[in-house]
Amino acid sequence: MTNKTTEQHFSEINEGDRFEGTPFTPSRETIKRFAEASLDFNPLHFDDNYMADDFGKTNFGGVIMHGMQNFALITRTLTDWLMPRGGYHRRLETRWLSPVKPGDTITPKVTVSEKQITDKGRWVVFDVAVFNQRDEQVASGRAMAEFPDELTIAAPLAAAE
């Protein structure tokens, strides 16, 4: 944390500002850990025989990473950028465009697309795109963060009163 106020941080953010997340390479081991931590044991992520089959019109040709691992990677990219600036992560919307498989490396890229001041808040809107190692986009998203003077919403009850 710096000594700047949240308002100062907010004023220094500009439309078009960009930042990237830490690249992530899923493996069968990370998929297993994700499943154990999230309780999502869908065979899409484990069963090679099952994944050799077609799914209606889709054939994945092998096990795939949990889409929500991608969601978590995007969230981490945003919160790691927001927290030192006093920003509070408010919203994330994502679409999965193509599956991610063990051995792929994915990197979220974020662009500040909009800033707005409402009656009660300062807001930043982000465009998110996640790319794999072949520069194919695997996910798209939009996010919003709020930059309050004080983070009362996140404070424990006793302190907030």
Binding site: A37, N42, P43, F71, T75, R76, T79
Partner: protein
């Protein structure tokens, strides 16, 4: 780190698969059966670690106490775990082959260790498009004080 999954959680999603509602049976608007789930520091730490989080806010009480959060909180993504933790083995989100197409989530107060989280969930809509069967669902998670933690919508492609 200890795995969160305990003996009481069925990790074989094929088991009871026949008891779960298919696209044809899901009733938009009908609530899903849910049960409260209590978070602990260990669950939050294990979850955060598996999400790739390194922020001490999720792991280190002494650090977290000095932040505006006033103590350890769960990462916003904790709803990923809560959706499965608050539903039972017959819930249709466990149907093998369920494909996550899209998600949107809004975050209110953070979840904390000791919080008992309640889920309200339902399908909102179902439709077919280009040969695929879709369901839209929404979930709202609240803590023991009645504060909303987060609310979300998801689009899944149903197995057929």
């Amino acid at each position: 780190m200890q795995a969160i999954s305990t003996g009481e959680f069925e990790t074989d999603f094929w088991k009871d698969a026949g008891a779960r509602q298919t696209w044809d049976q899901i009733v938009p608007g009908a609530p899903r059966d849910t049960k409260p789930y209590t978070l602990t520091k260990e669950i939050i730490a294990t979850f955060a670690e598996a999400m790739g989080e390194t922020n001490p806010l999720y792991f280190d009480e002494e650090y977290a106490r000095k932040t505006p959060y006033g103590g350890i909180v769960a990462p916003p993504t904790i709803h990923i775990l809560l959706m499965f933790a608050c539903t039972g083995t017959e819930d249709w989100m466990r149907s093998p082959g369920t494909i996550n197409a899209s998600q949107s989530w809004f975050y209110n107060v953070p979840a904390r260790p000791g919080d008992t989280i309640t889920m309200q969930g339902r399908a909102l809509d179902r439709y077919m498009r280009k040969g695929r069967l879709f369901v839209i669902h929404d979930n709202v998670f609240t803590n023991q004080n009645g504060d909303v933690v987060c609310s979300g919508r998801g689009w899944t492609i149903r197995p057929q």
